[in-house]
């Protein structure tokens, strides 16, 4: 275990930033936190988590894929991919770290998505344990430990110090070059914190949410549940849940004609949108109920079916906090899961 006094944390950041861009949660003027680039004097937010998930670092909301130059009947394809520089994302919570695993299985499976892979290869994740989870947190039910966040380096913050432990090769290389600001220490402080986190986790209101009714092979059980009607009844069909979600990965590919060429880019898309599945000859999900059901079935049944039981939700609670009508995956799990066998 390595340790850095909190008084010294800005020096630690400066050391990290010497060789790689450093991003960490920063407080916005409106009271929310957001991942921003660190520079001297930028304060590290105390917020539990950022309003938007850190998936942008690897899967940005919009990203140019290629350009085209056209002349008469001729087309030239221009590769716009650039080599990424190393960067460090600091203070990622356990749930969000897990979300990268969920995204990896999509983007790194054959055929590998080179846009994502490049950024993933150059990103170094420093995670951070949660000492004060919110009532909306339910990472525990997906086997995620708020006290044991994964990542290249795991971190724990106490009243007076930051504790670091490298988990991977990338992480080891990072802490190695921070030796001037880190000192070796025992695990005692971290162990004490882990114990207190475990106690809090046991008090969280959603800790008993059951995943039993969900997982691969449950399509026929759940798809026809009568509860979908009421659950989706108030859904506005906006994309808030999708866009704040750390694991939602659907995207659209679009062309933009600049007047002197064409940019083909991809951007986040939402299965909640009415035109998501619209084709020239029709739409296979005509009502909001069907679109709403798709989002939750995908996270709770289809994704686990294709990915060895791993759920497509990490329990970060963002959709609970942000949905305009307070409909969310927890309510869905309770209703749909509970209705089983009725």
């Amino acid at each position: 275990m390595l340790k850095c006094s909190l008084d010294n944390v800005q020096t630690l950041f400066a050391e990290i930033a010497k060789e790689a861009k450093l991003y960490l949660p920063i407080d916005n003027a409106d009271g929310t936190a957001v991942f921003g680039e660190w520079s001297r004097g930028v304060a590290w937010s105390n917020a539990l988590n950022t309003a938007k998930s850190p998936k942008d670092f690897f899967f940005p909301q919009t990203e140019d894929l290629m350009r085209f130059r056209t002349e008469g009947k001729k087309i030239e394809v221009i590769d716009v991919r650039r080599e990424s520089d190393d960067f460090v994302v600091f203070g990622v919570r356990a749930c969000d770290v897990k979300s990268f695993d969920v995204l990896d299985r999509v983007f790194l499976s054959e055929p590998c998505d080179s846009f994502y892979a490049e950024k993933r290869a150059h990103g170094i994740i420093v995670s951070l344990a949660c000492t004060r989870p919110a009532e909306t947190c339910f990472c525990g039910i997906f086997g995620i430990h708020a006290a044991e966040p994964a990542g290249d380096v795991s971190a724990w913050k106490t009243e007076d110090a930051l504790y670091l432990r490298a988990n991977t090769e990338k992480g080891t290389a990072l802490v190695a070059r921070l030796s001037s600001v880190l000192e070796e220490c025992s695990d005692d402080a971290v162990n004490a914190q882990k114990e207190s986190i475990a106690k809090i986790m046991n008090k969280l209101p959603l800790k008993d949410l059951s995943t039993e009714a969900f997982g691969g092979g449950k399509t026929q059980d759940l798809f026809h549940s009568p509860a979908w009607d009421a659950l989706s009844s108030a859904c506005l069909g906006c994309g808030t849940c999708t866009f704040v979600c750390p694991t939602c990965q659907c995207y659209d590919i679009k062309d933009f004609n600049t007047g002197n060429g064409v940019i083909r880019y991809r951007c986040w898309d939402s299965c909640m949108y009415s035109e998501f599945t619209k084709m020239a000859h029709g739409n296979n999900r005509l009502t909001q109920k069907e679109r709403f059901r798709q989002r939750f079935m995908h996270k709770l049944v289809y994704y686990p079916e294709n990915n060895d039981g791993l759920f497509g939700c990490v329990g970060c609670g963002r959709c609970l906090a942000k949905c305009p009508i307070s409909m969310n995956i927890v309510k869905v799990m309770k209703q749909i899961g509970g209705n089983k066998g009725e």
Binding site: R81, T219, D255, T277, H298, E305
Partner: protein, 277 residues
Amino acid sequence: MNNMGDTLIPSVGVITDVRIDTPDIKTFRVVTSDGKKAFDHRPGQCAMLSIPGVGEAMFSITSSPTNTEYMEFSIKKCGCVTEWLHQAEVGQQITIRGPYGTPFPVDDVFAGKDLLFIAGGVGLAPLRSVINYCRHYRDRYGNIDIVYGSRSKADLLDYREIIEEWANDAGVKVHLTIDNPQPDWDGHVGFVPSYVKELGFDTDKTAVLCGPPIMIKFTLEALVALGFDKRQVYTTLELRMKCGVGKCGRCNVGAKYVCKDGPVFRCDELEELPSEY
């Protein structure tokens, strides 16, 4: 890293021939800019064609894999990309990437079997690839029956090829039908499902079905009524696609992605999927 390919980045293709098949279907012949076939494929697989600034869309490759010189796409005019393609001339470059999707099991399941192909309208496009593949390796398969129906005679796709080539092959029987009677037509008149029932095929065949959803639904019912098991019947699905490789999420139905797990599905597999296709 710029040496690393990415399936989303297409190569440039050239339209070398445009054939007007029906009033709303044209068949495009496509090669790479140096005149070669863009990539190898298996019967039933698809490719993403695009026109920069207009859009990208998935099309079945209608030419047989045994054709090593070029690919053909039979495309019905119905949306932005297809409308643009329909006004394209020979020499026009487009982009092409693929092949995508799981092909028909021509080398295992189909081998040695009697085959029954049933198509409606532009649904013949994906079947033409597999029909011609099976004709090419004629000795590997048993008898071939082809039932094909369209709105009118003019709407029959690949009519000349059907009449002049397919119908003349040994062991290949072609049954054509159109929806309504017309003066220059002395063949069968009526919808495909009822024609299939009328023809009454032996149930030891493997059937391949493609056409508009409503035609698929009723033809499948007709086949089941004739005693076919759904495990003997293959069909293809079509949903909106963007990436072609099961990542963008658009064509997701149940745990399947039509672009990579399909477009070819066995009809009993479809029953396990949610009815959202």
